[in-house]
C-alpha cells in the first residue's frame, strides 16, 4: 500500500440494533424530524391557501380598484404583482378627463422601470418624457374611455406608481412585486 494514502483501522462506530446489526439509526432525530415535517406541512398548506386567495398576487386579494376624488380616473390594477409575470392595469377616464378635445395621462417612470410596461392599448397619439414620467396624449376622435397597460414587472420589491390627468387629481398607488 503506498505510504501517502491515509488509512484508519475499522472501528465499531456505527450504532447497532439489538447489538447485532450496525444500522446507525437515530430514532430520536427521526421523531424530531417528523414534528418539524408536521409544522412544515401546515405552513405549506397555509402558503397554498394564501396563494389561492391572491395574497401572493393573481387572485381575489391582489385585485384592487382606485378612484380619484374628482372622478377623472378609475383604475383597476393588481396591488400585488409577480416578477416577470404579465398583468394588466386599466384606467377608465371620467368625463372631466377630456380637455380641449383630447385626453392626457401622466404616469411616473416606475411604470416603465419597476413595473415593466410593455404595451399600451390603444396606443397614444403622442408620448413624451415629462419630468420623472411620461405624458401620453390621445387627440384623435373618438377619445378612448379607457386605456390598458400591459406590464411585466422587472424588479422585486415595491413600486409607487403615480397617475394623473393634467389639471385633475392624481392617484398614487403602492404595488408590491413578489419574486
Amino acid at each position: 500500500m503506498p505510504a501517502d494514502i491515509e488509512t484508519k483501522q475499522i472501528e465499531d462506530s456505527v450504532a447497532k440494533i439489538n447489538n447485532e446489526v450496525a444500522v446507525g439509526s437515530d430514532l430520536e432525530f427521526q421523531r424530531r424530524w417528523w414534528r418539524f415535517e408536521h409544522i412544515l406541512w401546515l405552513a405549506l398548506t397555509a402558503l397554498v391557501i394564501l396563494d389561492a386567495l391572491g395574497f401572493f398576487g393573481r387572485g381575489w386579494f391582489a385585485k384592487a380598484e382606485a378612484k380619484t376624488p374628482d372622478g377623472s380616473m378609475r383604475i383597476e390594477y393588481e396591488r400585488i404583482e409577480r416578477f416577470g409575470a404579465p398583468s394588466l392595469l386599466t384606467i377608465h377616464f371620467g368625463q372631466n378627463a377630456v380637455r380641449n378635445g383630447g385626453i392626457q395621462l401622466w404616469a411616473s417612470d416606475s411604470l416603465l422601470h419597476e413595473l415593466g410596461s410593455q404595451r399600451l392599448i390603444p396606443q397614444a397619439d403622442r408620448s413624451a418624457l415629462d419630468g420623472h414620467g411620461i405624458l401620453y396624449t390621445w387627440v384623435a376622435a373618438p377619445q378612448p374611455d379607457s386605456v390598458q397597460f400591459s406590464m411585466q414587472p422587472a424588479k422585486v420589491g415595491s413600486a409607487w406608481l403615480t397617475l394623473r390627468v393634467p389639471g385633475a387629481d392624481q392617484m398614487r398607488l403602492k404595488i408590491a412585486i413578489f419574486p
Binding site: I17, V23, D26, F29, Q30, W33, G84
Partner: protein, 147 residues
C-alpha cells in the same frame, strides 16, 4: 445573476420538498412517484431559466446547481448532523421479526413494500425476514431469518 439566485433557491427548495415527502422518491419508485419527480423538475426549471434560454444561462444554471451539490456533499461529510437533516436516518421497520407499525405508518410504508424488497433477496414469506431497514436512500434492506 438572477438565474444563479434562482438556481440556488430552486436547489435548496427542492432538497427540502423532496426531503419532507415520504422517503420513497428516489428508490422503489412507482409510476405515481415518477409523475411527481418529473412534474417538480419541470416546474422548477421554468422559474430557474425564465425567459433567457441562452446557452450562457443554461451553463450558469447547471454549474450553480453542481456547485450547490458539491457544497451540500461536503457539508454532509464535515457535519454528520447536517447529513441527518439532508438524508435522514435509517429506520428499522422489522426488528427480530416484529413490525414497527407506528414507524411504518409515519413513513407511509406498508407490508407489501417490505415484501417487495424481501423478494429481491429471495425471501418468500414475511416470517423469513429478521430485520427490514429503511435506508437513507429510500431503499429497504432485508436481513433474512436464518432459523
Amino acid at each position: 445573476m438572477t438565474t444563479i439566485w434562482h438556481a440556488i433557491f430552486g436547489y435548496f427548495y427542492l432538497v427540502l420538498t423532496v426531503r419532507v415527502l415520504k422517503r420513497r422518491p428516489g428508490a422503489q419508485m412507482t409510476p405515481f412517484e415518477f409523475v411527481l419527480i418529473f412534474l417538480i423538475g419541470g416546474v422548477i426549471i421554468l422559474c430557474t431559466m425564465g425567459d433567457d434560454r441562452s446557452e450562457t444561462n443554461s451553463v450558469c444554471a447547471v454549474v450553480t446547481i453542481a456547485l450547490m451539490h458539491r457544497l451540500v456533499s461536503y457539508l454532509k461529510t464535515r457535519f454528520p448532523k447536517f447529513g441527518l437533516i439532508v438524508d435522514g436516518t435509517p429506520v428499522a421497520l422489522v426488528e427480530r421479526g416484529v413490525w414497527h407499525k407506528d414507524l411504518m405508518r409515519r413513513l407511509g410504508l406498508d407490508e407489501t413494500d417490505v415484501m417487495a424488497a424481501a423478494r429481491v433477496k429471495s425471501v418468500k414469506t414475511l416470517d423469513g425476514i429478521k430485520y427490514a431497514i429503511l435506508e437513507r436512500n429510500g431503499a429497504i434492506s432485508i436481513i433474512k431469518n436464518d432459523s
